[in-house]
Symmetry: C2
Subunit: 193 residues, 2 copies
């Protein structure tokens, strides 16, 4: 479902785009030529083909000031938070979500450790987000990634004790471009059924 | 130990640098102002302070063609593999390493799943690395990250069935700049003792 991040960014930048689906079954060689792990999404922009949602967002960020500040400090802030969303927060939230989804909570082996790891990251995010509207000086691709990562934690009620994180997710997902990207994604899946 | 990645990049780019340590005990407010999760490393470059090893490498990559090709295609390849090293490979290898380090292998709950997840990623990397010397057209920051990630898997003998991955790690860690960065890091820790 990581194509939502890419759709959202394209909407914020008002860049024209077209979404294509790939078969869910066996991956073809052509698919691996675009995405060596056989996953989605990838982006084709002219003669450039690029995979990994973080790399795609960065590629788009360089085409639009609506996605990344152009001054050196704002750019550095966007880069560090883009990586932090993936490596410091999603690295903790993804295994936590998989355990939640599988019902492996409570006394399940490993659960307490995963929960403590995620909570340590959320405590830091809570103090960061308590003091600012967006991660860099303006809304950026770092917010698209961080809000999408925290949104999935929120779905399993993992933000109950983190009001600043919840407020941030609410602020980000109330943006018209998120609303449109999300509705388009749902319609796309429904049509593919 | 992620400062090794930064040291290595600085050596490859022949950029002058100075390493400072922070106390291992309780983190001070000044530390959190540079790194909101209270971790290391961060980089100070003029009036820019930047954290997350991936973001630091990208920041350095933009200052040196020795770290990132400057043509659009080579740059896109570097970006996607930089993110792939962190999100598609390290996301699988980190929990695997933690279980290995803790002796939670064999019949330990969750181990089989972690092992299968990592192996699926290594199989894809094996076919990619069987056909090329470096991930982009020339050596880049993507190789610094990917080689460092795979090097830690190799330490627990996780690359036994992946000769192309092993060859790639050997190639990368034989580079004089890696050898120097690694020796300097060890000397730095020994001096801090």
């Amino acid at each position: 479902m990581r194509d939502l991040r890419v759709r959202w960014a394209l909407e914020e930048a008002a860049l024209p785009y077209r979404v294509e689906s790939v078969p869910f079954g066996e991956r073809k060689a052509e698919h691996f030529s675009h995405q060596p792990f056989g996953q989605v999404p990838w982006l084709t922009d002219g003669d450039i083909s690029i995979f990994e949602s973080g790399a795609i967002l960065l590629h788009l960020g360089e085409r639009s000031a609506a996605l990344m500040p152009t001054d050196p400090r704002g750019r550095a802030e966007t880069l560090e938070w883009l990586f932090a969303a993936l490596n410091s927060v999603e690295m903790a939230s993804l295994p936590w979500s998989i355990f939640q989804f599988s019902g492996l909570t409570g006394d399940a082996p490993g659960w307490k450790g995963l929960e403590a790891f995620l909570n340590s990251r959320l405590q830091h995010m809570e103090s960061v987000l308590g003091g600012r509207e967006w991660l860099a000086e303006t809304f950026s691709i770092a917010d698209i990634l961080m809000a999408d990562v925290l949104r999935l934690v929120d779905r399993f009620d993992g933000l109950a004790e983190y009001p600043a994180c919840r407020g941030y997710v609410a602020r980000a997902t109330a943006r018209p471009c998120f609303v449109k990207a999300h509705a388009d994604q749902m319609a796309h899946f429904a049509a593919a059924d």
